[in-house]
Symmetry: C3
Subunit: 333 residues, 3 copies
Amino acid sequence: MKYKIATLGSHSALQILKGAHDEGFKTIVICEKGTERPYKSFGVADKIITVDSFADFFKVENELIEENAIIIPHGTFTSVVSLDKMERLKIAHYGNKKILKWEADRNMCMRWLTEAGVRIPRMFDNPKEIDRPVIVKFFGARGGEGYFFCTNADQFNEKIRNAPKVPYIIQEYIIGVPVYIHFFYSQLNNELEIMGFDKRYESNVDSIGRIAARDQIALNLQSSYTIVGNIPLVVRESFLPEIFEIGENVVKASQKLEPPGLYGPFCIESIITPDQKIYVFEISARIVAGTNPFIEGSPYTALKYNEPMSCGRRIARELKLAIQNGRLKEVLG
Amino acid sequence: MKYKIATLGSHSALQILKGAHDEGFKTIVICEKGTERPYKSFGVADKIITVDSFADFFKVENELIEENAIIIPHGTFTSVVSLDKMERLKIAHYGNKKILKWEADRNMCMRWLTEAGVRIPRMFDNPKEIDRPVIVKFFGARGGEGYFFCTNADQFNEKIRNAPKVPYIIQEYIIGVPVYIHFFYSQLNNELEIMGFDKRYESNVDSIGRIAARDQIALNLQSSYTIVGNIPLVVRESFLPEIFEIGENVVKASQKLEPPGLYGPFCIESIITPDQKIYVFEISARIVAGTNPFIEGSPYTALKYNEPMSCGRRIARELKLAIQNGRLKEVLG
Amino acid sequence: MKYKIATLGSHSALQILKGAHDEGFKTIVICEKGTERPYKSFGVADKIITVDSFADFFKVENELIEENAIIIPHGTFTSVVSLDKMERLKIAHYGNKKILKWEADRNMCMRWLTEAGVRIPRMFDNPKEIDRPVIVKFFGARGGEGYFFCTNADQFNEKIRNAPKVPYIIQEYIIGVPVYIHFFYSQLNNELEIMGFDKRYESNVDSIGRIAARDQIALNLQSSYTIVGNIPLVVRESFLPEIFEIGENVVKASQKLEPPGLYGPFCIESIITPDQKIYVFEISARIVAGTNPFIEGSPYTALKYNEPMSCGRRIARELKLAIQNGRLKEVLG
């Protein structure tokens, strides 16, 4: 094939590059100096381009264009290429670039979710109004670092002092289990697929429960939310009809808010409560690292496909089909 | 094949239908209106029959019989088709129908476990006797909703007020990790197989540990046990001999209590304590949703089979072998 | 092939034997009387040798040698064959026997980690010095039984009374999430591979978080760390370059401390903190049970290999390649 698939060496690059290979593409990975090893070791990259920092992406953009590379965005890409620069991107980009600002700006994200009519946590504009558990989240895909939990204005004021100096939201903390829902929406056949589910593995909240309550209190233990990994999950089958509906409503809302809307892989970040209500607290409008447990496909893709179908491979498949049918422009944006 | 495989569209239907396809059966799914989408999207059903409510199952029973359908029971089926109606079932039914009342009535289930000689938690007939942590569980497969934890009679009396008005048991709460053990017992060759292990993902108990103890107390947080999903697991290999023995004892006891006994897929719900004791607190006498992580087979089925062998596929394999050998009647009941 | 693969029937034997079959070896498992069933049921052993106790291993050593068996060590093997006896082992042994004393003696293990220059928890020689949370760990691979948590000398003195009477270390308890890193280092091509990641499932610490803090305190709940199973995991991709480096430094240090050093499968036991620091608290210098979720390979081996590649199969592959190239002696030791 004339085209190659390229991505930044981080986040879900191994999956993206492997999936591209499986569909017959040559691959290129752009690595920060000293981080090339995984891409060499796992044999997923036909070419490695080294930069001092991902911020130098634009210095190698022309080289990528000469290679006929299509860039696949992921969480590291969207946090590195600032939104204003995103519009200056000249390289072929898989997915609707304009949608990415809707995930980066948490207020816009909440507007999107409201437009989709899904159930969302309450948002607090003023810390003084905090009357229940809340989580304070900062803008951009930062891997959860700095997020904090509090239950009133005093706690908020104490904890915000040591927090990163970037915009944030104050979001009701819903008591229930986190479920990350992975979708793929095809721009070619307008079909929505469920690709799988995971839960994050966050430091320290996913291990403080291993310390007895009495000891936690003696230690004055506080919670933090740095993402360290992901654990595979399946959900109760009776939730699936509603989950399809949520995914569809999010896509439809995006088509209205930012035509041609969201397509390709995306993730709905949810909490499911004891009374079986699904709260959506975030959208990631591109592949998420929560699909990494499924490099050989998930239990859900195994139902639909006769071969291992990761989210990364599904992207490459979509690009291949688009190229074969002369519709490539429809999936670049 | 003359026969088709049918099931209700919920619980573990995707796995059952996919498994049936893999073994060459045509499939039928009965869906409640508005819930058909997953079965269409994943392409596992050759025919979808829509009903207003699963309670209308008997209205479509004749249609299923005309299709030569064999119905595969699962947790939704056993909670929808009440036990007295179960006996009036005319459609071919995989497994021993009569065994299902032994799982639905928790007292009978405890009698079964006692007969099997496995280690069980203490049961309390009278709330006044509660002298340790207990969990109060309601009858039927209700996905854990309404279950509650308490440590004395006062807490019990307070919490029982808001509970569902159905029969319940008061069961000692064993401190240890939950392990759900998936078995398959073949009526054709009298062999017991271990199909895999999972842990449930319950709201809110599987996330309250993410809230620091001090905050939990400030919020007066209470535990609840609604099943939201399942997480795959393997167990320490040295437990396997004892686990085989438990499974075998449960099958043998069932053959005595309700001939021809339990066969097909079943689940032993257990807690394993720090001193490596296995407590059994429940049996599910049919496929459970805890096998859904293993639609492509589990690490254990991968040892025994040269192809992906889910529990759903194992059922279809058994039916195929029974049909091929003129022994179908032996696995219907 | 002339050679057979043998191991003790426990720990990760199913995986080792299955992997040996996949690579064309005949297999032998040595079982304690009454524990043969899993090895029969899963069909992984061509021959089962029964002993009264694993301590009788030396009574069957000659029989194994006559069969041209190569023994694969795992956690049960290293805890059964005491270190002084290990040196008297006459049977062909995969891996560097001498390295095993470095994992069994926790002080030597810490020296090894220090030599490797990796980040380690603080060690306390004297209980009186305990000024932060610590975990007290006993020598040998004992499945975590008896380990305890404390935060000061008084708690230590109280808990040490009921502890096993064997040597122990007092190790700083790092607050963060546990991540078990599985490596394979090939002595044939000097390549280091990442085989996957898991988290342990420990009784009771992995379930006490399911009990509300208030109830935990009422029950005076204490933590314990008995390993019951394992849960598959992937880690944030940006950690992989550092993880490769840690693995490489551990191998290099071993080559200096105990030539020819560590090779074959090994595990780095780590905690990753909220500020993304990786603390290494242990090395297992042979296959660990944490690779058992990956009998069909992990998401990471799926990247590198075109077939399911468990750690057990990787061992057999290495032996096959060594035999084919007349280099068997290099991987026995």
